[in-house]
Symmetry: C2
Subunit: 143 residues, 2 copies
């Protein structure tokens, strides 16, 4: 099983999801906050688009694309010259309501760490049988 059961994602799905985040979520929303504040709500994020857009691609293709997009995102972030007081700038999330630029950037970090953890769990579980008696020591296999 390449995911953690029905309605869960494989590492391949996750990388497609991270690509979509670079394209439509983090930097576009940061720009919206800086340029329009609360006057324009964020576009809702599509959690399922990668099932379509990743089709026919290899994991290597997706990783290359993610690497390129992340590099561009970081360059754009740097170009925003965000000073501490700018982190309080407010935007409007379509479901959550008012959020700040600082919260958006923290969420970017936590979101991606969460998905890295998810990838490690799914990869680890591929070896659930292969570890033999060591299974008893490897809590990640029960997670």
């Amino acid at each position: 099983m390449s995911n953690e059961g029905s309605d869960t994602w494989s590492p391949f799905d996750v990388v497609g999801h991270l690509i979509h985040g670079e394209e439509t979520d983090w930097i576009p929303r940061a720009k919206l906050i800086l340029e329009h504040g609360e006057s324009r709500p964020f576009e809702p994020f599509d959690r399922f688009s990668m099932f379509e857009t990743s089709r026919g691609k290899s994991l290597g293709d997706l990783l290359d694309r993610f690497e390129q997009l992340r590099r561009e995102s970081l360059r754009e972030l740097e170009g925003m010259n965000i000073r501490p007081e700018m982190l309080e700038k407010r935007g409007l999330h379509p479901e959550l309501g008012v959020v700040t630029l600082g919260q958006l950037l923290s969420t970017w970090v936590v979101h991606d760490l969460g998905h890295i953890g998810q990838i490690t769990r799914v990869m680890a579980k591929q070896y659930g049988e292969a570890v033999g008696a060591w299974q008893a020591y490897l809590r990640v296999l029960e997670s």
Copy 2:
């Protein structure tokens, strides 16, 4: 909090633990299996030595050391020229009893993936407050 509560580890602790694994666990045990089979049990692994050996070092020091040791481990592993039938070779674990080389190598992979997941959880939780209303979407913060 730099870990997940009492008797849990920080990323700094984990990297020290991974270093100790490279030094005393994976490759030394693989060699023991290939050279002595079940006739010589593995040395018990010390899960706490890094609290002493990492003292006074920076995370950067530990990462550099781990990178160097891992590179050496992979070179040694390659030098073992392990063919499929060799994965069945047996060794003696001091607690678990008879294990195979294949199980040891699988355990190495799962073990390290588990600790990467642990690091991502601890790092994510540093931002538990900072994400504001997004907390509701970020399951890693509850893990």
